[in-house]
Symmetry: C2
Subunit: 215 residues, 2 copies
């Protein structure tokens, strides 16, 4: 009989994705000093059903108060703890092109505790230049940087042809979460968390939507 830790049944990925959506809206309400909200009202604001909101949250605990709703500041705290953003995370950027620059200075990252602490680029002409306060470092120094600073998160913003090699190098050095902007399928071991965002693909989906409308 294999040793196995007692895992709670895993929450549906679709619910986890919505947790970020709820959190974003709740942060806004909290800033506006709102105290409580019902599943129905939260759902209405975000285009979900009330049942969906309740079920999503109930996968992770009993956060609500019958007759009252959810206490916003409690729920914000809980959601951050669930998502893992109740602390800050250092990250590195690979690729110092336009997108790398944008992400290095992205207020949404900083505000939510994602701190760029290193930028790497293969182009010698870019090495030594600055992105905000960060100096662009050569790829050769990346492995050591990751190991010494125990970096776990990386963003890939390099051309598609280089993306798989970069991913391999990151993983080899110990990174276990990657956000990839190169429009290429990346292969990574099962224990690595990879999310890819293909901006042109999003645009294609919009164009498809426009066409559907005019049918």
């Amino acid at each position: 009989m294999p040793i196995e830790r007692n895992r709670p049944d895993p929450a549906p990925p679709a619910s986890v994705r919505r947790l970020s959506v709820y959190l974003r809206h709740l942060e806004l309400l909290e800033a506006g000093n709102r105290k409580t909200i019902s599943s129905r009202e939260l759902g209405k604001a975000l285009d979900f059903t009330d049942a969906q909101v309740r079920k999503d949250l109930a996968y992770f605990g009993q956060f609500g108060h019958p007759g009252v709703g959810y206490r916003i500041s409690d729920l914000v705290r809980q959601l951050r703890a669930i998502l893992g953003t109740d602390r800050s995370w250092n990250l590195i950027l690979v690729g110092a092109g336009h997108l790398g620059h944008a992400l290095g200075a992205f207020p949404g990252f900083m505000q939510r505790g994602f701190i760029p602490v290193g930028v790497f680029d293969a182009d010698p002409k870019k090495v030594g230049t600055k992105i905000g306060t960060l100096e662009v470092l050569p790829m050769e120094s990346m492995n050591r940087f990751i190991r010494e600073r125990l970096i776990r998160l990386a963003v890939i913003a390099v051309p598609p042809s280089a993306a798989q090699d970069v991913a391999d190098a990151l993983i080899e050095a110990g990174v276990d979460g990657i956000l990839n902007f190169a429009p290429r399928k990346l292969s990574v071991p099962a224990h690595i968390t990879l999310i890819s965002v293909d901006l042109a693909a999003q645009m294609e989906q919009i164009v498809f939507g426009i066409q559907e409308q005019s049918k």
Copy 2:
């Protein structure tokens, strides 16, 4: 009895999303002069089952050849026609911050026929500066620009507090597809196609994934 055009039953949204993924990979194969591919092989390369690939494609037509597979260049052409990217699309950027800059110069947009033709910003200090070859224009000129040039696509890269107003202005002027990077729920009429990309939320999802792994 209401007048109604004869619509083919609509394809599942999940399949439409994968069309972009297939297309991206097929373009790569086409560039490498590969002629045909089977559903099994395409699926293997992208981590889908062969049945999924076949079913997705079959929603849109009969593109395959039994015993042979799919002819890559034909399929690329067909997928572009389905998605609406067999022609190029002008678009405008709203928000000339770092992200706006990055998107204005984004090779993935240009290469796939998404052409930025205007940039707008509410900040007088930014108006008149350049993003690549484009001059940043004041918000006041946006409505007219959209109407005169019949712009249908826009990218919102402004702070969250301004995003809903920008969306309203775009729609009022005639835009019918919006890619939104502001981390806020936007309300738009049903005939508008809106996709929102929340980069910090993607990062949260990665951190959640990392935590799950270490359980």
